[in-house]
Amino acid sequence: MSKIILPTKGMRVERENQTKKIIFFQDEDRRRNLGFSSKGYIYTLEVMIAISIILISAAFIFGKPPVKPEMELSIIKQQGFNAIEYLDQKDLLRQLNDAELENQLSSLLSSNIKLRVNNNTGLPNQTVIAVDYYISGYKGTYLGKRIRLFLWEEI
């Protein structure tokens, strides 16, 4: 004896008799019956998601310009030393007093670099670089002194 119950939501009815089986399919089942398979679809989708994660993240990581490293202090120190060396080669370093040295060095360095010679009073409240240059003597006279150059970048 066969009995038919009308299908409701979430319920699938199989009706079997000796000769015939009627199976009601949902949407996915209908597609399967028509020859569609979701196996490769899901696989491809996951691979695409993985590739997208890598590409988008790489774009964010390497898309920003590199942060400028703190090299200005070393460069300013080197410029200061080179300026003093130049004055020594011109035979001016040992003759001039501190104020004259400041004028000469200011003309050799960039306009945004401020300096003071042998005077650490009234320095600005920021990073100040000190460069030392040693002098032993001049024209037969022993001097034995250190020239200390204070440098800072004007903000």
Binding site: K3, D29, V47, I49, I53, Y142
Partner: protein, 222 residues
């Protein structure tokens, strides 16, 4: 006969998976192979982030060390040239050269060791100056000279000692042997008493932020 099957969503998918894929199963009836790609992409992402940070730091540190070493090298050249100038000043007053060398060595930074040789006819005076910030145990030897050797002994930091030799020939090899912290160092200077007037040997080392620059120089004034 009729069979009634109540299926929820999960059950429907499980049944489809069982019919669709025999032998493979995930929690919800889907293949787990694709999920491995997502996990691998996350691992690659973490590796890229770490790599970027490490490369950036390394390049900056190397560049800063290069800059600091360059400045230390310039300072070393400055000090060497000033020592040579002191020898020139000493030609006016050789005895004052001792004071100049001692005073200047106390002023400049770094570790210094010097030999100051003043030649006066067949006699020559040798001064050893120790500014190595450590005591040394030193011996002076001279070939073709009398005496041939002086054992100075322990020389403290910022001290100097002078010994006099008599040259028995014109060409002499002067050797300073000293021990510092268990290691033995030998410095040799050739002297021609017929030509040389003042000779200076300088061993200067400056350390800046872990980087060491060192130079040895012999200056001869005739």
């Amino acid at each position: 006969m009729m069979k009634i099957i109540y299926l929820q969503d999960e059950d429907r998918r499980r049944e489809r998976t069982n019919r669709r894929t025999e032998g493979t199963s995930g929690s919800f009836g889907v293949s787990s192979k694709g999920q491995m790609f997502i996990i691998a992409s996350i691992i690659i992402l973490v590796g890229l982030i770490m790599l970027k940070n490490i490369i950036g730091i390394y390049a900056t540190v190397e560049e800063q060390q290069h800059q600091e070493t360059d400045i230390a090298d310039k300072q070393l050249i400055n000090i060497k040239s000033e020592y040579e100038r002191i020898l020139g000043l000493a030609t006016f007053s050789p005895a004052s050269g001792l004071d100049y060398l001692s005073s200047f060595s106390s002023l400049v930074p770094g570790k210094k060791l010097y030999l100051y040789v003043r030649i006066n006819g067949s006699a020559f005076n040798v001064t050893v100056g120790n500014f190595l910030d450590d005591k040394i145990n030193c011996t002076l030897r001279a070939t073709s000279s009398s005496p041939s050797e002086y054992f100075i002994g322990v020389l403290g930091s910022k001290e100097y000692a002078t010994r006099e030799f008599q040259a028995l020939s014109n060409n002499i090899n002067l050797t300073l042997s000293y021990e510092q912290q268990g290691s033995s160092i030998i410095e040799t200077i050739p002297i021609d008493v017929s030509k040389d007037f003042i000779i200076g040997f300088f061993d200067i080392a400056i350390e800046k932020k872990g980087m060491l620059v060192r130079a040895k120089e012999i200056y001869k004034l005739r």
